[in-house]
Symmetry: C2
Subunit: 280 residues, 2 copies
Amino acid sequence: MLFDEIAIIGVGLIGGSVGLAAKAKGVARTVVGMGRDAANLDKARQLGAIDRGTTDLPEAVRKADLIVVCTPADRIASTILKAAPHCQRNAIFTDGGSTKEQIVLALKKAPTAGLVYVPAHPLAGSEKNGVENARADLFEGRLTILTPTNTTDAAALERVDAFWRSLGSRVTHLDPGKHDRVLAGTSHLPHAVASALAGTIPMEWLQYSAGGLRDTTRVAGGDPELWAAILLENNPATRLALDAFRVRLDELRELLEAKNRDGLIQWLSQGKQVRDALGT
Amino acid sequence: MLFDEIAIIGVGLIGGSVGLAAKAKGVARTVVGMGRDAANLDKARQLGAIDRGTTDLPEAVRKADLIVVCTPADRIASTILKAAPHCQRNAIFTDGGSTKEQIVLALKKAPTAGLVYVPAHPLAGSEKNGVENARADLFEGRLTILTPTNTTDAAALERVDAFWRSLGSRVTHLDPGKHDRVLAGTSHLPHAVASALAGTIPMEWLQYSAGGLRDTTRVAGGDPELWAAILLENNPATRLALDAFRVRLDELRELLEAKNRDGLIQWLSQGKQVRDALGT
């Protein structure tokens, strides 16, 4: 077994799926779940995502050799700092947060003796939330991005890399800042755009829509609190992505105003080229 | 049988599906396909979408009692005007165009003796194109919007209503101008936004994306020529929709700048409310 006892802090879609996958793949002997809602922990236990649950953070991490923090992005750093003093020596932290740089910086600013953290972002979110949507195969074939820095413990990095692979995901490494810039484009901007689009359409028009609107707005069904946290954690990069998107939108506005058919076909072709490269 | 002979002008995804559905449902004795590409017509015939094909418009419509124009939106009015003199008396035109007001206006400006046209828009498009993607069940359960005016022949309207229902679709009626304003929001804006989003993302970032970007940009894979025609045909309404969307996007930009978490949650919740009403 890769780990003896794993503690999962925050047992929702991601945390629950980590638990289910860890049990299914025999990655750990014991999976402990920690959360603020005892009823949710009971549900997670009944679903087999955790072996036992607790609402007490020190108690949750006490015997863990791996702690996976799956809280909303804006609470990951503070959760790690609160938990660290209660961990055993050699315990390793990783997480499931959609943003990385702010977390890495916050932990750098508050040096904690013996704290070993390997930042991770499994690209396996969904517009669905909650442990009731967790799946043992959520990470299967998906990409997990680790964002180590030059101070990241090499042995811990190797173990965390093996951990996310053992859950079924592919693993790659990126600089935290680059991760946040790239994900601002590939994940946070799409969410912002989908949400802005949905918010633009009057309810009484929905009966006259088809698959196009459904696909384009799908992620806007995600949890507003989770996404507010992500967008704020990745605030500067998200704003830059929004600005780049607006430039593109302004081009379209001008092409329409000029009734520039050829320019419009070219503009649409550029989008299609990227979309086609993405696959179905 | 509802019709004796149907002529389909433009045998791609929509035209081919009209043919397949008409044959499958026994809506017409004969289905004639007309297009500029003889090889495509051969393919359509082999797929069973048409009984025979011709590249000659007068020959295609000569014996038809229903002509379904499925060319790109910007060629529908001119195609009807070209075909009308060659039709038999009592022939009815309908179409599959995504925009309606410009077509209705163009035909009003060029009054043609005996021309009977019932404008239609089956909401059954896709990012896929071509007769090879046509399906007999493409319209099944989908909505077809008819946009009659006060000069539309009542008996023809009834027959065209029955025709689109017989292909499997639900049918509703809207004023042409309202159709275009609503569809600018529910279809043309989503396409514009998806395409702008895809065009914003550098190719080398695609490897770091997941389902969110794929869903949000899916329709950007559509045919640039077809979509340029649609956006230009519905130019003023599309620009108004783009402006409304930009207002929404600017709100987000300001909320991020102000780090307004509560405002952000509220903004995201408004989008989620619309998205949730749309269903999966």
